[in-house]
Symmetry: C2
Subunit: 505 residues, 2 copies
């Protein structure tokens, strides 16, 4: 087994936080690995193989009914593995857990993640007691546990993950989530938008490792710059609040709380055994801690995009809308105003500069700007002029507006030639780079709106290439004007109340 | 030129409304057709050719600088066309319009649509006077005008349209929109979801044909069952209100009003010269007329889907959520409650029935249902049982849940073989049909949620096939639980205040 320190060194420093070694297992055993490929339980082996975990680490499938799976030797039990095992993924039925726990102690593992469910979240007092007992046994032996009832760890630098489609490269966002499905939604949804992760943890019932441990770790992790979380209940309230405050003081921290309404609270209780508590108290805790609270999953993802791009620097309400289509501009203006931002009229000087090359008929240049100019040069000129106007704090434009092929539509072709896809990608990347250059040269944050989605391969390649190139160069991309406006409204409200506290950017 | 009565007869009756002939031109001339293919002005010829208008109608491009375009003879002027011209599309510059108007009168056309902008919407008093003058000239000669400053007519049965990608088949939704871009967004967005249109009209400044004329027509049109509109200002308020009331009394009618906030109102004024007016008064007018008001473009489209499927029959707040993923169920429950609906606990009898085949560990069956069953038969059984429970008014499920290949993920392949695409389509259609059958047999409306989007061709084919097959069989599909819940919340509020009025379904 290769020591994985080299991978860590390649991408960033580590902290001396007690959880640090847990994120760097040299070997993983999956106990109860299923033989089939369907269902959540089978996703662990699939995800590890997809990320190529086994190339630099030891991977031990355990299932007494198989000798081999996916070309790997399959062991009858944990204790039959010759090498050391750092981390265990438990996919066994609940009744087998107490026995597995004893084997883990005997084997001397560091950490265990229980996908296995059927304990405290069932509401059954006896099963809850069983959970408490085996967690105490593990902790007494110095073993940390994730779950039960969760998806566990995603550590891109260690090529450790729990669902198919997770990026193999790492980034600056730390994610904590009680729910595995929501962690998956966040990782998949944000990855498509170019966001990458330092670590992500789905921690389910939180019988051992809880939100406050993870916030505490995230605050100290040099690889992490932004922290995002999904929670259903608050465990050990005082410790949670202190950890949230510590984390939010040094890194933008945003939390989505599920179980706000009675129906959601009941669902949260039967999902992770959480007591949802009052959302007012949770909101007050976030405010006092200097953290952000997201109201929906979309809000959370939009805020992560905001906080990882130059959009985080927006510090005033003046939005310039540069769009095609007058009716679209009307609805966009309403959405911007609805989020508490403004669409300030451009000063006469700016209007005069625009009118030098924008004809009167069928256009507007006072803001919203409906310029209807063609060609990347005039688009660039328009964007530069409005970005430099005094009332402008941020400029919204369409994702394709600075594309060299703005007038080309994506062919609706099932099997386009490779060069057509390559061309769409290159053109989208060029478009994103142009926008990033204007953002830099005018020192004004830009926001790109990716309107509408086609399912053609060429359109998919274009959207994907634009999102990645834009995010990499610090340009935020949102799926609609209302969502961009809401994210910036939330940001401004947060920046305002953070005044006097340490500035994070 | 073939008389188009045959096409009309094939799909539905016509009314004796004075606007009826305008929707059935036997011939169209595009005056000032551009030689290039980029820009909005060129979209008319492209759209007509794409819809094959020329196969059963006469199509006359007019541009003195060309002899031929796209294989069609190009005429130097309207008066050089030998045949009769029913409908003219004006793409000429504003200064040429007065001359064109005289030619139209001489030629004896029925109707003209001015894409040409640069009149009353500029705010210039002289240009507004010009507009009034030429509209009066046309009307005096018995010619009706759409616009100026708009995209005109989409009549699928006549193969008349104004943008690429409009469906060639017709349906039951009548659309009116001052904005051409928003009309395009609505048609493209709804078409992807399986909705089809009787007619759509973008009418811009509304100098002649206004919203009230179109509502009046829609009320009388036997092909139209649902009416949706986008407006920026109300013209001739009393007539508008009367027409809205007349229309909403016989057909579900939903209006999105742009220019709600000051910024939007300013944009509306420079876009279509509209005076946005107070949204409170507009809202009150909609309520009094028995119409629905949408707050956003997404709301409008979701409501059209609702009103054209069995979802329109939902008449209580009891939502059953059948989903995979506990955290997703928690957020879904919150979203449903947020929209004013309930997630009622299933009665013990229902729980017992479900527990016969759903294990305890990692599942919930009280509602939300997180059953984690595999196979279409157990899914079907789950859905049937919960649909028949007493507190159930509507069941939400994932789009793929009744698919014969529920566990297969879409391969991320740029050039999948044709049989793979065909298989994905067939499987999605089967899934939609299964859902429609359960909807029918349980007499309970179902809602399918199409979560997440991949850009692969196979995923695109699957999503498209499901959306079309589901809509055709009366199952509503929404992109998220919050959007489905909002649409049903709006529907219930509307149904409640419509009580005592004529029932529309």
């Amino acid at each position: 087994v290769t020591e994985s320190a080299s991978t860590i060194a390649a991408t960033g420093a580590t902290s001396d936080h007690p959880l640090e070694p847990i994120f760097h297992p040299r070997s993983v055993a999956i106990i109860g690995v299923p033989s089939g490929k369907s269902g959540m339980a089978s996703s662990f082996l699939g995800a590890l193989l997809e990320l190529k975990f086994q190339e630099n680490h030891a991977l031990y499938p355990v299932n007494p009914k198989m000798d081999e799976i996916e070309g790997l030797r399959c062991y009858p039990s944990l204790l039959d593995i010759e090498g050391e095992v750092d981390h265990v993924i438990s996919v066994v039925p609940a009744r087998v857990v107490p026995m597995l726990v004893e084997q883990c102690i005997e084997k001397g593992i560091r950490s265990i993640h229980f996908f296995t469910a059927g304990f405290s979240e069932t509401g059954d007092a006896e099963l809850a007691q069983t959970e408490r007992t085996f967690i105490a046994r593990l902790n007494a032996a110095g073993i940390r546990a994730f779950g039960p009832n969760c998806m566990g760890l995603y550590v891109p630098d260690e090529r450790l993950g729990f669902m198919s489609g997770f990026p193999g490269d790492s980034g600056e966002v730390f994610l904590l989530s009680q729910s595995g499905a929501n962690a998956g939604d966040m990782i998949h949804g944000l990855a498509k938008r170019g966001v990458r992760f330092s670590k992500a943890v789905s921690f389910g019932n939180g019988a051992d490792v809880k939100a406050h441990h993870l916030l505490d770790y995230a605050a100290s992790d040099p690889q992490t710059r932004v922290v995002a979380g999904y929670m259903e209940g608050v465990q050990e309230g005082r410790k949670f609040f202190e950890a949230l405050k510590r984390c939010a003081a040094v890194k933008p921290t945003i939390i989505l709380k599920g179980g706000i309404h009675a129906a959601g609270a009941r669902a949260a209780n039967s999902h992770t055994g959480s007591l949802a508590g009052s959302i007012r108290i949770f909101e007050a805790a976030c405010r006092q801690a200097g953290a952000l609270r997201a109201e929906t999953m979309d809000d959370l993802q939009d805020m992560v995009v905001t906080l990882t791009t130059e959009a985080r620097r927006v510090d005033g309400t003046g939005v310039v809308l540069v769009s095609g289509g007058g009716g679209y501009a009307v609805l966009s203006s309403d959405a911007v105003a609805n989020a508490g931002l403004d669409v300030p009229r451009m000063p006469q000087e700016t209007i005069d500069q625009l009118r030098e090359f924008i004809p009167v008929a069928g256009t507007s240049v006072s803001n919203p700007i409906d310029a209807n100019v063609s060609g990347v040069e005039l688009q660039r000129k328009t964007l530069q002029i409005v970005a430099r106007a005094a009332p402008t704090d941020v400029v919204f434009t369409n994702a394709g507006s600075t594309s060299p092929d703005a007038s080309e539509s994506d062919p609706d072709d099932d099997s386009p030639p490779a060069d057509q896809i390559a061309h769409a990608r290159a053109s989208a990347e060029e478009s994103a780079t142009t926008l990033a250059e204007i953002q830099r040269s005018t020192d004004t944050p830009f926001v790109a709106i990716e309107r509408g989605h086609s399912y053609s391969v060429t359109a998919g390649a274009r959207v994907d290439a634009f999102a990645h190139a834009a995010h990499k160069q610090g340009v935020a991309v949102y799926p609609s004007v209302p969502r961009a406006a809401c994210a910036l409204g939330l940001l401004l409200e947060w920046r305002k109340r953070r005044e006097g506290l340490q500035q994070l950017f």
